[in-house]
Structure formats: C-alpha cells, structure tokens
C-alpha cells in the first residue's frame, strides 16, 4: 500500500488540499477516498468536517502492493511476524509515553496506531507505518511542537515534544458609589469580575484532532470592606442596606444597585377652610345629597342666618422632616396657615377657627392662594316689581325681586340677582350670578360684571408690564452710550426721557397708562387698595406735566414689579368665573355672562349671547349671535327665512346642535360653515388641519 493519510477539512476540497500539502504531492499522484462528507449543521451547531483518505498512487504501487501482501523485511522475517514484534514494541512505548498509570483496555491500545489523543491536558501520539497523525491547535491556547509555536495543522510524531500553553484570565471587578443629587440615595454600580480557568479537553484517539479548551468561570467577588470604607468616607450613616451590599459584592450581576436610602420628608398640609354646607353654587346646577348633579336649574341662592356658623378654619399641619443619606435632616416644604379676611357680616370665633355670620344674607367666599375673604352679603328683597315707584336699585349685596323689572329701570348689584318674573326693556348688572325665572325682553343683562372689568384691567396691566420691560432695556442701552449723560436722572427724573421714548418706540404706552388709570378711578369702590395705590404711582410717574416721580431706572423696575405682583394676585382662575346666568326665555336682548349661560325655557329669539363659560339652550335659537368660550349646546337652531343665526366658539371648542335649520352659520375659530339644508344631531369641531368636521 502506498503512503496514506487521513485528512479533515471544512469541505472535501479543503480536506484534499490539506492532505496534498502534508504529503507534498500533486492531485494526480494520490487516490482519494471520502470517509465522511462535511455536514453543515444548524445554527452553528452540529457541523462536522469532511474526512478523506489520500493514498499515494506511484509507479511502484503495483509492486508495493504485491510486496505488501506478504511483506518481508530485510531479515526475511514475515511481515506478520514483524507486526507482532512491532506490537510488543508499541506496548513498551505506550507505557513510556503515558504519564499516568491508567490501564487501557487492550483493544484500545491496538486502536491507537497512527493516532493522536488528549488526556488530562497532555497530548499523546503513536506512530504507525504509513499513517500520520495531525493536530490542529485551537483558540485560547499556544501550541508548541518541539518548542516551536504552531498555528496551523501539523503532522505529529510520537517523538515530538508537544506542549500546550493555556492562559488563565482574571477580569478584575470594578465598582463605583454614587450619591444622587437629592442626597437621598446611594447607588453601587458593579461590573463583576471573573476568573477564567482554561483546560485542554480530553479527546479520544483519532488520526486528526483539533485541540479544544474548556473554560471554567468563577466569579471574582468584590471586597465588601472596600465598599464599606468608601461609604464611611462619604459619611453615609443612614439607611444602609448591608445585606444588599454583601449580596451584590459576591454575586455575578452587573448593574446599579440601591444600597442606601434616606428617609423622605413627609409634606404637611396648608391651613384650609371647610364650609358647613355647600355654600357655593357651581354653574347653576344643584348637587343632590348623594353627590350627583341635578341638571335642573337652580332657582334660589343659598343663604345663612344671623349667628349661623359658616364654616371652620383648619390650621396647617406641619410635615415631618426626613433624613438625607448622609444623615442631614431634610426639611419638608413649609406649610402656611390660611389667612382669613373678615368681610362684612362675618366674625371669627374660637381663636380664629370658626367663621360666624353676623348678618343674614348670602355667604361670599373668595379664595386667593392662602388668603380667603369671607363675607356675608346682605340680601335686598323687593317684594314687587322694580318700577318708577321703587326707583332704580343699587345694592352692594344680593338682590331678590319678587316681581319684574320694568321698562327703563336699572338694577345694579354687586352680588347675585334673582328676578322671579320678567325683565322688560330694562338693565340688570350683577357682580355675581343672575337668575330670571321667566323672560328677558329687549333688555341688557350682565352676570359677573366685575370679571369683565377685571379682565380689562388685567389685559391693560399685562400690556404695560411688557412695554415697561422693553423701555427699561432701552434706557439701559442708552446709558451705555458714552455720549449720553446718565447722572442727570436723579436731578431731572426720567420724565423727559420717557416722553421722548413715548414719541418714538412706545407710542401706545401713554394711552395704555391712561386707560388703566381711568379704569382704576372708575372702579374705586370695588377694587382692592393695591389697585388704587398702583394707579396713583402710575399717575405720578407717567402722567404729570411736572417732573416725573421716577428718578432712576431701578425705580421703574420696581414699579413694574409691583404691577406684576398685582397681576399675579388678581389672575382670574377658572374657579373665579363661577358666575352664571339662567333664564327661561330671551327675546331681542343682550346677555353677558362671565361664566355659563343657560336658557332653560323656550329658547332665545334675535338675541346676542356672550358667555365666558359654556352656553346651553334647551329650546330653540332663532336669529341673533351666540358666543361661548367653552362650547355650545343647542337643541334647535335657525330660522325658516328671516335673520341669520350665527353660532361661534373658539378654535378648540365644540358646537352641538340637535337640529339645525338651513342658512344657520356656525364658526369655530376662524372657520365658518353655513348649513345648506336642515341637519340633525350635529357635533362640530376643528380637525388637525383646522377644518370644520362633523361627527354625528
């Protein structure tokens, strides 16, 4: 038999090429026998290399073959004899090579001819005539054959010195402690360490083996003491979870672990007022005792009797301080008591905890942050019509009219107004809500006249604040120009400069100031002292013909700040516009409500309705204009011929109409729509493109 070699490769072709390289032969000099075809495996597992046997095919093959049949050595001994003696030699060598006293079964020994194997981290090899063993080094090792580093497949001989160097690896663990910004927790971030021990895997004898290592990983724990030392350095005293630190140091998890927490401060509660019974009417609907809302309209206003307890003031409850993670106290937010301003008809008793009415009337409670103004507004009851006989009615509190308000008459009340009959060609202005149990005809009725006024005041104030800010910047810029003499301000005041600025950039400033001052003067009776004061300051600052009071830029900045404070104190929250108007029927009239507006009877005809809140009309709307800031709901709208009906809401609101006649116009934001035919159950709003769309 010619020399043969068993070779492995990823593919049959590879195997053949390997064999040819090792035999140093050409393709046509060998015979190839495929022992195993390669197997691709699946998902990287179970793949098997191709195995082939390449046998030399030389000119002397025939001769060799013949001789081999009965090989005879130089001594003339028969090959078979030689073979047996060779076996004995092999046996001896085997014992020499193996370093352990491991006894192999006989059959196995016979199997190791021309093969190589790995046992207990050592590589063994047994030569065989005509057969060569091949070894391929693997990853994670350095394979030395006769002290030379080998990086690819080699033929090995039993006399070769085969050594494998394996590297153990130590990946050091790392950790970090971090206190969060609020000083309330400490996090231990851990990247665990690992010790990797590598060992050569034992392999059964084979003609061709690839050396493989197996890794044994052991965690490399973190020294808990180091962590504790660092914590001491950080002065961490509170809330340390030692068992967690221990667990995490010894574990193999990577990540952030909470190992210390402070104690959070418990917030307290500000002082507050609790009324004894439901004293405010919200939006003209009644609340039933079970808390559900009765959508029938309110027909009365609540009232208290002389000596009745209106409610209780509860003191503030302080919070409890906590502790930060470094042992410092963490204060809870401050709590403030409720400051009660006793208005008319109210007195505080029992050390400021009980609020008692000293007069009969309607309780008025106005809350602004931690200040509450409670007053009992007396009620004026007019037992008949308001007519030339009674004269016009002007009252600070509530007014109740048992009859009607007749032609040309005026009812002006700071509180609420109740009219049990009609309002005919008259004017009713209420600071609070208005209920007209029957009809309003050719009249002007306002609910929430103060809100309207306050809105105007605040609007002007806002504009003035903005312009003054710009003015200040302008003056500061001017002061920086070297040619401008600033020192003269204290001497002459800012008057002349402001005058020039008002002729220039700030043309509207002066008229705004004038309007604001005018409004304040007008409302002197109703407005808080802070408005009166700011009005005076604005007058002496900007409206004097003699030198202005304002002597420096700082002065102007302070004036502006005072304006901002007033603006904040008086901002109209949605709570404030609790005023509402409820009417049965309106004809040819103008109705203004700072809050909601409800028409609960037949409907309204040719009337102008304006509501800062919501409008609901249970009957019909024929002609006229309707506007509500917060949406409109109408049962029936439109006229069959006659004046157009226009219904408007802001762009983010909805209009709902159960039945719309043709020619009715609805407007949402700036978009209008005219109905060209009668439509039912319309719900209209703007979509994302700003177009009116309906979902019925």
């Amino acid at each position: 038999m010619g020399r043969s070699i068993v070779a492995k490769g990823t593919t049959i072709k590879d195997a053949i090429n390997t064999a040819l390289n090792l035999l140093d032969a050409m393709k046509d000099q060998v015979d190839i026998e495929v022992i195993e075809t390669e197997r691709k495996g699946w998902l990287g597992m179970g793949s098997k290399p191709a195995v082939i046997r390449a046998t030399f095919r030389d000119s002397s093959t025939e001769k060799d073959k013949a001789e081999i049949k009965h090989p005879v050595d130089s001594l003339g001994r028969l090959a078979t004899d030689i073979q047996i003696s060779e076996e004995i030699e092999k046996f001896g060598k085997m014992i020499q090579l193996s370093k352990t006293s491991y006894i192999r079964p006989r059959s196995k020994w016979l199997d190791v001819d021309g093969k190589v194997w790995v046992k207990d981290g050592q590589i063994f090899c047994k030569n065989a005539p005509g057969k060569y063993s091949l070894v391929t080094p693997g990853k994670g090792m350095k394979f030395y054959c006769n002290h030379k580093l080998v990086e690819s497949t080699v033929v090995v001989d039993e006399n070769d010195i085969l050594k494998v160097e394996l590297e153990d690896e130590v990946k050091e663990p790392s950790w970090k402690l971090k206190i969060d910004d609020s000083m309330m927790s400490i996090t231990l971030t851990i990247t665990p360490g690992v010790l990797i021990y590598r060992k050569l895997i034992d392999q059964e004898p084979d003609t061709n083996i690839q050396l493989k290592v197996k890794e044994r990983r052991e965690p490399c724990p973190i020294e808990m003491n180091q962590v504790l030392e660092k914590l001491k350095e950080m002065k961490s005293v509170v809330g340390v979870d030692y068992s967690e630190i221990e667990r995490v140091c010894q574990g193999e998890e990577k990540g952030d672990f909470l190992i210390a927490s402070g104690v959070k401060a418990i917030p307290g509660k500000n002082g507050y007022f609790v009324p004894f019974k439901e004293l405010s009417i919200k939006r003209g609907v009644k609340e039933r005792s079970d808390g559900t809302v009765d959508h029938r309209e309110i027909q009365e206003f609540p009232s208290v009797e002389h000596g009745q307890v209106i409610g209780m003031i509860h003191p503030p409850i302080s919070g409890k301080p906590g502790t930060s993670v470094i042992g410092e106290p963490v204060m809870p937010p401050e709590v403030y008591p409720l400051v009660v301003q006793e208005g008319k008809g109210v007195v505080l008793a029992e050390d400021g905890t009980k609020v008692i009415a000293t007069e009969a009337g309607q309780p008025h409670i106005v809350t602004k942050k931690q200040l509450v103004k409670i007053s009992v507004v007396p009620k004026l009851i007019i037992k008949k019509d308001v007519s030339l006989e009674t004269g016009n009615v002007r009252f600070v509190g509530d007014v109740e009219i048992n009859g009607s308000v007749q032609d040309g008459m005026l009812v002006e009340a700071n509180g609420n107004v109740l009219v049990r009959e009609n309002v005919n060609m008259a004017q009713v202005n209420a600071g609070g809500s208005v209920i007209v149990q029957h009809n309003i005809i050719s009249s002007e009725v306002t609910a929430g006249k103060h809100t309207k006024k306050m809105t105007d005041l605040l609007h002007l104030t806002e504009e003035i604040i903005r312009q003054m800010k710009q003015m200040v910047i302008g003056i500061q810029q001017l002061s920086e120009v070297s040619a401008f003499k600033v020192a003269n301000f204290t001497q002459i005041g800012l008057g002349p400069l402001i005058k020039i600025l008002c002729d220039g950039k700030f043309k509207s400033f002066r008229s705004h100031i004038q309007s604001l001052v005018h409004l304040i003067d007008d409302g002197k009776g109703d407005l808080d002292p802070e408005w009166i004061e700011i009005g005076d300051r604005l007058k002496s600052g900007f409206m004097t013909s003699t030198s202005s009071d304002i002597r420096s830029v700082e002065h102007m900045i302070q004036l502006n700040r005072s304006l901002e404070v007033i603006q904040m104190n008086n901002s109209i929250s949605t709570e404030d516009s609790n005023c509402f108007m409820t009417v049965a029927f309106s004809h040819n009239s103008q109705l203004y409500s700072a809050g909601d507006l409800l028409i609960v009877g037949q409907g309204c005809y040719n009337s102008k309705l304006y509501a800062g809140g919501f409008i609901r009309i249970d009957g019909y709307v024929r002609g006229g204009e309707i506007y509500a800031s917060r949406g409109i709901k109408i049962n029936e709208a439109g006229t069959k011929g006659g004046a157009a009906t226009i219904i408007t809401v802001p762009k983010d609101q909805t209009i709902e109409i159960n039945r719309v006649m043709e020619d009715t116009v609805i407007q949402i934001g700036l978009k209008t729509h005219k109905f060209d035919k009668e439509t039912t159950f319309v719900t209209a709003r703007l979509n994302e493109d700003g177009q009116i769309y309906f979902n019925n």
Binding site: L478, F484, L497, I500
Partner: protein, 107 residues
C-alpha cells in the same frame, strides 16, 4: 457748557452748536436760541453738531420741541455732522422716526 453761533447766508441759516446738550443748556436753548431763530420764518435751518459730544434727555427733549416750533413757523430743519456716539443715542431714541428722516441727511 453749551454755546451756539448763527451764520446767516442768504440760502440757509447755519447754527453751530458747541458743548453739552444737557439740562444746563435748557435756559439758553428755550429762551435765547428759539426766540432768535423764530425770527426767521420759512427758512432752511441747519444745526451743525460737530462740537457736541454729550447729550441728555432734557437736552434732546428741548431739541425736539424747538424743531417742532420752528416747523410751525414754516422752517425746515436738518441736523448734520453728528458725532458717532451722539448718533447712537439719537438712533436708540428713534429720533429719525420722531422728527422725520429728512431731518437727518446721511444718517
């Protein structure tokens, strides 16, 4: 300190200003200068600011009132040779807008 010199040639009246146009110049401007200039009705008046280096709000205020009064009397007014820093002040106060751009040729 503030002072002025008036040069009258047949076509226009040139007034050269000198010094600081400020509160102390008030009297001089209000009483003397304005009165003197108002004699000249329907004339072209030129204020030369070459030697004016400092201004304050009263000075500017007076300048403005004076120019208005002169206009009422039918005169036209121009302001020339402004120092760059003084020009900045006039610009911040938007004088060209208040008085009209034609008052400031080559601004």
């Amino acid at each position: 300190m503030f002072d002025y010199h008036i040069f009258n040639n047949k076509t226009k009246i040139k007034v050269n200003f000198e010094g600081d146009l400020d509160i102390e110049a008030t009297e001089l401007i209000e009483q003397q200068l304005t009165t003197e200039l108002l004699q000249y009705q329907d004339k072209d008046i030129q204020f030369d600011f070459t030697w004016v280096l400092f201004v304050d709000s009263s000075g500017i205020g007076l300048l403005i009132s004076m120019i208005y009064r002169l206009r009422e009397a039918g005169c036209t007014v121009v302001i020339v040779n402004l120092d760059p820093e003084v020009k900045k002040v006039f610009s911040l106060l938007q004088l060209p807008m208040i008085l009209g751009e034609d008052v400031f040729p080559n601004f």
